[in-house]
Amino acid sequence: MDHKILGVVTLLYLSIFFLHVLHFAVKKEKILSFMWILLYITLGLHATGLIARWVESYRLGIGHAPLSNFYESLIFYAWCIGFVLVILKKRLTFPIITMMASLIALGFMSYASISSSVERKIQPLIPALQSNWLHIHVITCFVAYAAFVISFICGLLYLIKWKNVVPPKEMLEEINYRSVMVGFPMLSAGILTGAVWAHYAWGSYWSWDPKETWSLITWIIYALFLHARFVRGWKGKRIAFISIIGFLSVIFTYFGVNFILSGLHSYAT
C-alpha cells in the first residue's frame, strides 16, 4: 500500500518539476499557484504514504515509525524538503528555487524506489534503535538537512547569472540566511538528541564515530557561515561558497559515511 502511494508521490514531484518548466515556457502566473496547490497535495499524500508504512509495520508485528533505515530516511528527507518549502513560501517568489528543490526531492524519491542498494522492506528495529529518541533525533536532523538544501540552492544560484529567472542577489542571501536560521538550530538539536540517546544506548554521549564526527564538521561549517555573515559581514560569493561546502558536508554525513566509513550508524544503510 505505502509503496503505491509513494510511487504516486514520486510522479507528483515529477509533475511539480514539469509545471515549473511549463511556467518558464509560457510565463503564466496561474501555473505557479496551481503548482503550490499541487505541492500541498503531494506533501499530504507523501505523509499519508509514510503513515501507511507506519500502520503496515504494526500489522507485521514490528511496529515502529518509518524513520529507521536508509529507504525510510530518503523518503522522509524528500518530505522535509517539501515541508521547508512551505515554511519559506512567503519568500520564495522566484520559482527557480522551488523548481530545484522539487528536483532534489524527486531525486531522493526515485533513488529510494529504484536503486538496488536500498532495502525497501519494512525491517524490525534492532535493540539500539528501540528508543523514543529515535523520532526526535531523525526529525530534527532531516528538517535541518532539508533547510540546508534550500541554502545550497541559493548558494548555487548566486553564482549563476540568469535575468528574471534567478532572484536578485540580496534576495538570495536573505533566503539563504533564513534557511540556515532554520537548519542550524535543528541540526544542533539533532546532534544533541543523538548524544543523549547514545548516552542511554551505548554509555557515551560522544564517541567520535564517523557519523558523529561528520555531523560536528557540518555544524562547524554552518557556525562559520553565521559568524562570517554576522560578525564579519561577509556577503556575496564567499557566503555562497560556504553554503555549497556546508551542503557537501551534509551529503557526505548522510551518504558518504554510510557507504565509505563504517561505524555505529552503519545499520542506516
Binding site: 514490528i62 525491517q123 524490525p124 534492532i126 535493540p127 539500539a128 528501540q130 528508543s131 536560521m181 542550524f184 538550530p185 544542533s188 538539536a189 544533541l192 548524544a195 543523549v196 540517546w197 548516552h199 542511554y200 544506548a201 551505548w202 554509555g203 557515551s204 554521549y205 560522544w206 567520535w208 564517523p210 564526527t213 561528520w214 560536528l216 564538521i217 562547524i220 561549517i221 557556525a223 562559520l224 559568524h227 562570517a228 560578525v231 564579519r232 559515511v257 566509513l261
Partner: protein
Amino acid sequence: MSVIKNNIYKFLSSLSLTIFLLCFIAFGSIFGTVIKQKADVEEYLSIYSDTTYTIIKYLGFDDVYHSPWFIAAIVLFAINLTLCTYGRFARLIKTEGKVDLPDESELSDMSMVFHVGNNERENTIASIKKGYQTIYEGEEGVVLQKGVISRYGVYIIHGSILIILIGSLIGMLFGYKGFMTLRKGETKDQLILRGTPLKEVPLGFSLKCKDFQVSFYPGGEPKDYVSKVEVLDNGRVVMERDIRVNSPLSYKGINVYQASYGASPSFLFTIAGEHVTLSERETYEKDGLVMMIARSESAIHNFGPGVLVAYLDQGEPKAVWFLKDVERLKEQKIQGVNIKLEDIKEDFYTGLEIAKDPGVWVVWTGFALILFGLYANFFVYYRRIYMRNIPDGLIVAGIAFKNREGFKEEFEKLKRKVSGNGS
C-alpha cells in the same frame, strides 16, 4: 610590556583565531574518520607502508581525538571563546545600562514612526505598552522593549559550549569506561577498564547475573537482550533490575549498559563422584589435583566435541583430551582420580558496558542551555519602541535589529490600532 600583553589578548580573543581553530578542528577530525583509530600496529602495516605508518604514528593520526595537537586546539578554542564572549558581553552590559530617549528630530528620522494628537496620548501609551516592558519612563516620554533575551542568545550559546566542554573534561578526569562479561549465575565485583593495556579494577559493588535472555524476530534479527541483574553492596542485595539496550542500570553514579552477548561452552565433569561445572580457562583444585580447561573444540576429526584438560604431574604441565562421544576417552584418570566428561553445554554470557561519568549532568545542562540560546538568538527578536511627548501630542517610533519586516508588520498593526481609537 603592556603592549605585548594587549596584543596577546587581542589575538586570543579574535574572531580570526576562532575561524582558524574551527577550521583546524574540523579538518583534523576528518583524519580521524578516514584513518582507522586505535588499531593494532599489524592492522596499520597491512594497509600502509612502513614510512606512512611512521608518519601516522608520529602525527598522532592513529588516535586523532586524543593527540596533543587536537587537544591543544580545543583548549585554545575554549580560551578564545571565553575571552571573545566575555569582551563582547562586557560591552553589551555597558550599553544596556544606558537607556536614553532620542530627541524629536532623531525619532522623526527613524523609518518606523507616527504621530498621535494630544487627546489620544494616554490611550496610545496604554495600548502600546501591552506586551512590552518599560525600561525608561520620564516626564518627556517612555522607552519600551520586547524580546530582550534575544540580545543574550549568543552569549548563552557560547557559554553553553564552554559548559559542555567543562562537563566532558570532568568526565575525562573523574570518569571511566570499562566492561564486564557475566555468565548466568556468575557474580563479579571487578570491571575491566578500557585502555591499553586493559586493567581490572574494583567496581565498588557486585553484579550478579540471575538470567540472560535474547529474543529474535521471526527473520532472525535480534529483538531484545535482557540481563536480569542483582546489585550486591556489602553482600546485601540492594537492587534487582532488567538491563536492556537503551535502558541502563544506574547505581552509585555508575551506569551499566547492555552492550553485547555471546556464548561460551561450559563443561560438566564428574570428578571423584562429585559434579563440577567448569568453563574455559577455569581451574579446578582439590586434594592436590590441579586441572584447567585449556581448550575446547566443537569437533575433533570425526570424533565430535572435545576438551583439552591441562594438569600438573609432579610439577610438570601435561594435557589430555576428553572426547564427549568416545566412550574410551570420555572417562580418564588423572593422578589416580577418576574424571568423567558428562556434557558440554553452550552458555550465554552477557556483555555489559560499565561507565562512570560525573560530568554528564553538566553536559546535559549545557545541552539544554544551548537549545534555549539558539531559540533566543534565532527566533526571538529584540524590538524597541520610543514614545516622546511633543507640544502637539506624541511621537511614536520603533526600531528592530533583526527581522525588520516582521517588526514593520507589527508596527503597522499598532499604528492602525491606535488610529482606530477614535481619531
